[in-house]
């Protein structure tokens, strides 16, 4: 099976997951600040950081499953375009403070989450080696 089929399976699941989880978070908080997308991008960054480090160090996880998890699942799950649109929407309505918070929080928290994901992968790999 070509790699893109694995990517397709992963993105389908990731996109649906994002849609359901993003809607749930946004509805539950009742906020007009894009908390749903923010949560999605931060958690997706954490998962990608973990998966890339962990999968590359684990020969049992082949490139097919890696493609499904990274380009597929995390690619479909996180969304840069929605982040951009919602930032522009905030700027357009003159909510510059909220826009700045959204952009700042998205970038800082997503990068931090990726570091944490990588750190977690390292911990799990070390723990596994000690077994």
């Amino acid at each position: 099976m070509p790699l893109y089929v694995w990517v397709a399976i992963g993105s389908a699941a990731g996109g649906v997951l994002r849609f359901l989880l993003g809607t749930l978070i946004q509805q539950k908080t009742g906020s007009t600040f894009p908390v749903g997308t923010l949560a999605i991008n931060v958690t997706g960054s954490l998962v990608l950081g973990f998966v890339v480090r962990y999968a590359l160090a684990t020969p049992a996880i082949g490139p097919e499953f890696r493609a499904l998890l990274t380009a597929g699942l995390c690619g479909g799950y996180t969304t840069f375009s929605t982040f951009s649109y919602e930032s522009v929407a905030l700027i357009e309505e003159g909510a510059y403070h909220r826009a700045a918070w959204y952009v700042g929080l998205s970038v800082v928290l997503s990068l931090a989450a990726t570091f944490i994901g990588i750190g977690l992968a390292r911990e799990v790999l070390n723990w596994r080696r000690r077994l």
């Binding site: 809607t23 946004q26 509805q27 894009p34 997308t37 929605t82 649109y85 929407a89 905030l90």
Partner: protein, 137 residues
């Protein structure tokens, strides 16, 4: 142009963008029904934000909240005609809100070229039901 000025009823129907009736958008079905019955007119608005009986927030600013924006269908007609159509509209709507208000129609016309419009104030503010001059056609 038929006589239409005076005391009328404004009906406002609040529904959702994704509401359907027999597979087509509900607001479209309502407008088509009103047009088929020769009602005076109808206007559909799509709102930028709101919530309804389900308390689900909708907003065009948030992607996942923008997929079922509030819709308002407005129609101004005589009380009899509004009352007559309500049972049918009730059957079409799964969830929503309908309000009726008294309205005073001060102008209702299709096409009146400038040369026939005169210079004075021609709107009828009396609030009485006075038919317009029948149009020679």
């Amino acid at each position: 142009m038929h006589g239409f000025k005076g005391e009328r009823v404004l009906m406002r129907i609040h529904i959702g963008e994704r509401d359907k009736f027999h597979g087509k958008p509900l607001y479209e079905a309502i407008v088509e029904l009103l047009r088929a019955r020769h009602y005076a007119g109808a206007t559909v608005f799509r709102a930028v934000m709101g919530f309804g009986a389900t308390a689900h927030l909708r907003s065009d600013r948030i992607e996942v909240l923008s997929l079922d924006l509030p819709i308002v269908v407005e129609c101004v007609e005589t009380e009899e005609k509004i009352t007559a159509i309500l049972p049918e509209i009730d059957q079409m709507i799964e969830g929503g809100l309908i309000t009726l208000e008294r309205a005073k129609v001060i102008m209702y016309r299709a096409n009146l070229p400038p040369e026939r419009r005169g210079t004075g104030w021609e709107m009828d503010m009396s609030g009485l039901w006075e038919p317009d001059e029948p149009k020679a056609s």
